[in-house]
């Protein structure tokens, strides 16, 4: 990614950090990446910025074993085409899982990661990646409180 200068990284930074897209209030369609105009409604469209929920499903995926120069250090890494709950798709890495566990239809959620570092002390580029949805943490609170009760009972 040495070909582009700093302003270029900065320009789409907000969308990369927060998974922002465009929503048309006229037809209720969401778009990613951002659009100036709703292609369905044209002049009648009323578009505004939207922050996506960050949840979606894997529509397709691949495991990159030979990366470009910038990304080769991270190989093997998973690239997914992810269909967001709101409809649009994004292309992103899927992390925090074994590549062989990724499958079409898998539920994923957004996370914040380093995308790459420019060579020779250049800037670090951050942005969204996805990880498998794991809601198992909800169960913990019941367990934690039961354990606490048991402890109190002992003393």
């Amino acid at each position: 990614m040495s070909v582009s200068g700093v302003p270029r990284h900065w320009r789409s930074q907000r969308e990369r950090y927060r998974l922002l897209g465009t929503y048309c209030e006229n037809c209720g369609t969401s778009f990613f990446p951002r659009r100036k105009i709703c292609p369905k409604c044209r002049r009648k469209g009323r578009t505004r910025e939207v922050e996506f929920s960050g949840r979606g499903r894997v529509f397709s995926y691949t495991v990159i074993h030979v990366g470009s120069k910038t990304f080769d250090e991270y190989a093997p890494y998973v690239i997914g085409l992810i269909e967001l709950q709101e409809g649009p798709r994004v292309l992103s890495q899927i992390v925090d899982c074994k590549p062989e566990d990724v499958h079409i239809g898998m539920e994923v959620e957004v996370c914040f990661r380093k995308l790459f570092e420019q060579e020779d002390g250049g800037i670090i580029s951050y942005g969204f990646k996805f990880r498998p949805v794991d809601d198992s943490w909800v169960e913990y609170y019941g367990k934690l409180l039961a354990e606490k009760k048991a402890r109190t009972a002992q003393t």
Binding site: R18, Y74, V95, F112, I124
Partner: protein
């Protein structure tokens, strides 16, 4: 006015390396480290994780719990760390941008070894109390450095915790009092341009950690007219399992009050995240009305102590984000060569 924590959040990267694996590589006696430091394993950041990404994840969890807080109401954000990705360019600005808090806030990175974020919590408390801001966020996060083969390598870990500070009904844990204790003590340092910190061995104990943690806590107790019996939990900075246990005993806290917030044996030392992750683990289980005593420690050296009282608001907010124990359980072990790759210890040219 009731001022304190309106939301908290934790984050720990998923990779772990065991003490045995590090000891195997260097021909060390694993048992002496396991028992000497009271540590089994430590967290390791992936190649794509650093202090900024950990801080964002922790802060997003904190904002989930601080559900009444609108991004535009956050007036300050601080990231305390000794592994900021840039020497010059604030992690705090990246985190604020990722949380959608910009541009109407003040933000800065803080550094005071492992207590940079507790100091920033004090700053937030002050600004909220003075009415300068409605809410402030302080995050302690590190991808801690420990030189290969150094004793620190066994403990230097990655993780972080974030606290949204504010006032009013949303406060889940009121900060009743805070006190700090600071002196110039060269127990642990990293010069500009060096990759790893150096430390003064056993000198890091009595004149450094214990001098500050114990005195800071003792004075806070005196000032507030409380005793260890008044607290249900105590959390100290935890570079290993032994130091906080020894400090707690010396101050007269029962061991069982320390255990809920003592994570180092499974987590390692997350530096700026250390005591704040311990506090988060306590908030995961604390009941309304319970009191927590927190004392951080930063080499160089200083401690910040806090007397905290949990409120009824905690019950509805706690379950809005994952507890610390979830992160400790969600792990994947790596060997030392993978660790070396992820920590970029190999010289490629």
């Amino acid at each position: 006015m009731r001022v304190g924590i309106v939301g908290y959040g934790a984050y720990v990267p998923r990779l772990r390396i065991r003490v045995e694996e590090i000891a195997r590589v260097w021909g060390h006696d694993a048992n002496s480290y396991r028992e000497g430091l009271g540590i089994e394993e430590k967290s390791v950041p992936s190649l794509d994780e650093d202090t900024a990404t950990i801080a964002v994840e922790a802060a997003r969890n904190a904002m989930r719990r601080a559900r009444e807080v609108k991004p535009s109401e956050v007036g300050a954000l601080f990231v305390g760390s000794e592994s900021h990705p840039y020497v010059v360019k604030p992690t705090a600005a990246t985190v604020a941008e990722a949380l959608g808090l910009t541009p109407s806030l003040t933000a800065a990175d803080t550094e005071f070894a492992c207590k940079a974020a507790t100091t920033a919590i004090q700053a937030c408390l002050g600004m909220v109390k003075a009415g300068y801001i409605r809410y402030g966020i302080s995050i302690g996060a590190d991808t801690a450095q420990g030189a290969p083969r150094d004793a620190l390598e066994y403990t230097a870990a990655a993780g972080g915790a974030a606290y949204v500070i504010g006032a009013g009904e949303g406060v889940i844990a009121e900060v009743e009092a805070t006190y700090s204790y600071t002196q110039d003590v060269p127990d642990f340092w990293r010069r500009d341009g060096d990759s790893y910190p150096r430390h003064a061995g056993r000198f890091t104990g009595e004149p450094a950690y214990f001098e500050h943690v114990i005195n800071c806590t003792r004075i806070l107790l005196e000032k507030t007219g409380t005793t260890p019996r008044d607290y249900d939990y105590v959390v100290f900075h935890q570079p290993n399992s032994k130091f906080p246990l020894k400090a707690a005993r010396e101050l007269g806290f029962e061991d069982k009050k320390l255990h809920p917030g003592l994570l180092v044996n499974r987590l390692g030392n997350t530096y700026s995240g250390s005591s704040l992750l311990g506090l988060a683990a306590v908030l995961d289980v604390a009941s309304p009305g319970e009191r927590i005593l927190l004392t951080s420690y930063g080499s160089g050296a200083g401690s910040d102590s806090f007397s905290i009282r949990v409120t009824a608001a905690i019950d509805s907010k706690r379950k809005l984000a994952p507890p610390v124990i979830y992160y400790l359980d969600k792990r994947e072990y790596i060997d030392y060569s993978t660790y070396a790759r992820y920590r970029r210890l190999f010289k490629e040219r």
